[in-house]
């Protein structure tokens, strides 16, 4: 779950990482008030879960509370990459002496968290040559220690007895503390700014592990999914919209990808990715079918290899939707094998649908049907 910049900064501040003066505003009036409290040049930043806010005009630099009000008005009426701006962050405008980069994320290959840092932060961080990027894995059994942070700061070329160096040693340790205590799979500060003697997190990117939300009751909930994705997620399913015309349901992430690959190999184009694996029952499967039909595809392709998923559950779900709607508005092809396959096929037969044995045959058929 991605957090808005202002939420990440609130989290940082709570843990003692310095952030710019200021806070979130939902109206131009609030923005004006905050700017007045700050009492100098400000930044008004749109709060959306997308990058490229600057290029889209979502960041303004007002000099007075009145200008801040106006800036907030403009930004609050914007839509950035399809996302309406619902609030802004109003902050002091920092004197920027230097921009650095710091993050901790998960490295799946190493099966560890990894600290990434660079003395050259800002927009261009991804373009920095490899030798300017410091990567240091965090041994989960050893945990984070001051020496780890000192060595990162040393490699960033910052003196350990300077005010900057001392603050950075604290910030690095705190970032890992946040990761562990809040199950953050990403904490990123870009840029981390030197402003005279201060070191300040000028931006925040925090992503919480969705699998850990059950133990993170104190965090605010952030909706970072489209309505269809949310509907699927509420059913415990993984769903992504795509550009094609054949709606697809399969059980398991790998086989769903394999199904899309097969469709595409034979000249079809998938409308979506929908993994309804992991033993999704009759009712949830029916709801998932409704989501797919809501996409208004030209055809529907269901590819089930039952393991923990039972073929009769899928067939019943199909029958439920079929009966509720009095038939399907588009051609449908079902491939159905595995656990309780015979029972499932009987159910389908009862509404006149014949299941396929092999994915490739079924894929070819749906493509023919939607042509």
């Amino acid at each position: 779950m991605k957090m808005f910049e202002y939420m990440g900064k609130e989290l940082f501040a709570k843990y003692g990482i310095p952030t710019p003066k200021g806070r979130m505003a939902k109206t131009p009036e609030e923005a004006e008030k905050i700017a007045a409290e700050i009492g100098g040049p400000c930044v008004v930043k749109s709060q959306v879960l997308s990058g490229k806010r600057g290029k889209a005009g979502g960041i303004k630099f007002p000099n007075t509370p009145e200008e801040a009000k106006k800036a907030a008005e403009e930004v609050l009426s914007m839509t950035i990459q399809g996302l309406p701006v619902e609030c802004v962050l109003v902050e002091e405008k920092l004197k920027i002496d230097k921009e650095l980069y710091m993050s901790i994320t998960i490295d799946g290959s190493a099966k560890q968290a990894v600290m990434i840092a660079s003395a050259y932060g800002g927009m261009e961080i991804e373009a920095q040559p490899e030798e300017y990027i410091i990567k240091k894995h965090i041994d989960p059994e050893l945990g984070m220690h001051p020496f780890f942070a000192r060595d990162v700061v040393r490699r960033m070329g910052v003196g350990l007895r300077t005010p900057h160096g001392k603050e950075m040693v604290n910030i690095i340790q705190t970032l890992y503390k946040i990761c562990k205590e809040k199950d953050a799979e990403l904490v990123e500060i870009n840029p981390l700014v030197f402003s005279d003697d201060r070191v300040i997190a000028a931006d925040s990117k925090v992503t919480i592990d969705e699998d850990a939300l059950f133990r993170m009751k104190d965090l605010p909930f952030v909706e970072d999914k489209s309505p269809a994705e949310r509907a699927a997620a509420d059913l415990g399913l993984s769903f992504v919209e795509l550009d094609g015309d054949i709606a697809v349901m399969a059980n398991g992430a790998g086989i769903t990808m394999g199904t899309l690959d097969t469709l595409q190999a034979f000249g079809g184009t998938p409308r979506n990715f929908l993994d309804c694996g992991g033993g999704t029952g009759r009712e949830a499967t029916a709801k998932a079918l409704d989501i797919l039909l809501g996409l208004e595809p030209k055809g529907l392709f269901i590819n089930i290899f039952g393991g923990i998923t039972r073929c009769d559950d899928v067939a019943n779900a199909f029958k439920d939707v079929y009966e509720a709607r009095g038939g399907f508005p588009v051609p449908v092809v079902i491939r159905l094998v595995g656990t309780n396959q015979d029972a499932g096929r009987e159910i389908l037969k009862s509404i006149g649908v014949e299941a396929f044995d092999f994915m490739q045959d079924a894929a070819k058929r749906i493509i023919e049907l939607v042509k």
Partner: protein, 290 residues
């Protein structure tokens, strides 16, 4: 011989009194798995499908030799269950549970490494040594004894391909599900090394997918292997994924694409099947069979 588990493996089922676990206990027993004990705290003394239930893993270990455990407990308790088995000295831990927090996974994997134990999963379908022992949830009927080793990240896609193999007369030595999550126990290389050493295994199927760089790392080892490897990589048609901030981009640095993986595997001498159903033909070709 098979790898990791075989007909002599004594298996413990964690959370055996649960609905899913007891269903799959029955299925595993039907496959021939030697399930000697189950464990659910506070339900010691019960019997599930003829299997005695204990309160703790240590208690089970006082009464049986436990070689391997399969974990069905809900995600919030999975880390504790996995550590309990590892601490008790169980050397193979198969974690079926989905939705385990990634920092819990990291802790499990680190402790397993220290204890010299194998962890499969979290989020794995399990492992099957054809005709000998099944731990996990795959449908029994598609997994038969033979000489093809299979190692995979995802579940149903593996059933699909194993189903194809079996339909084409190609049985399996062992089918290993490494787990679909970000931090899982074994790597492709770990499993490939075991297949390379295993007498029963004559060829290997590697079922990968886009993302991460496990397939690229595996390719380095495949170069040294004497046994033929056939791969399928899922996700050719997938759009570029959502990235994890700059950090994700820095870690991946262009790795993880379908094209990159296919090139690495091909350069290493593996045959890459464009579609799942094409795997058996490539295996037969590699083994010189018709």
């Amino acid at each position: 011989m098979a790898i990791i588990i075989d007909e002599n493996t004594n298996v413990l089922v964690m959370g055996i009194t649960g609905r899913q676990a007891s269903f799959h206990t029955k299925q595993m027993l039907a496959y021939g798995t030697k399930i000697v004990a189950g464990c659910t705290p506070g339900k010691g003394g019960q019997v599930v499908e003829g299997v005695p239930v204990y309160n703790t893993v240590r208690e089970a270990c006082e009464n049986h030799r436990i070689d391997a455990s399969v974990i069905f407990v809900p995600a919030p308790g999975t880390k504790d269950a996995a550590l309990e088995n590892l601490e008790a000295g169980v050397k193979v831990v198969v974690i079926v549970t989905e939705g385990v927090p990634v920092y819990d996974e990291i802790d499990i994997v680190a402790y397993a490494r220290r204890k010299g134990a194998y962890v499969l999963g979290p989020n794995t379908f399990g492992i099957v040594s054809g005709g000998k022992c099944k731990m996990g949830i795959p449908p029994n009927q598609y997994f038969v004894e033979g000489d093809v080793g299979v190692v995979a990240r995802s579940g149903t896609l593996t059933y699909e391909i194993v189903g194809n193999l079996t339909a084409n007369g190609l049985g399996q030595s062992t089918v290993v599900g490494m787990g679909g999550d970000r931090a899982v126990g074994l790597t492709f290389v770990d499993v490939l090394k075991m297949f390379e050493k295993d007498d029963q295994t004559k060829a290997v199927v590697l079922i990968g997918e886009i993302g991460g760089n496990n397939e690229e790392i595996a390719s380095e080892y495949i170069k040294e292997m004497t046994k033929p490897v056939v791969a399928f990589i899922a996700g050719k048609s997938a759009p570029p994924g959502k990235r994890m901030g700059h950090a994700g981009a820095i870690i991946e640095r262009g790795k993880g694409t379908y094209q990159g993986k296919v090139e690495a595997l091909t350069a290493a001498g593996a045959k890459v099947a464009p579609l799942p159903f094409q795997v058996p033909a490539l295996i037969k070709e590699a083994l010189g069979r018709e």
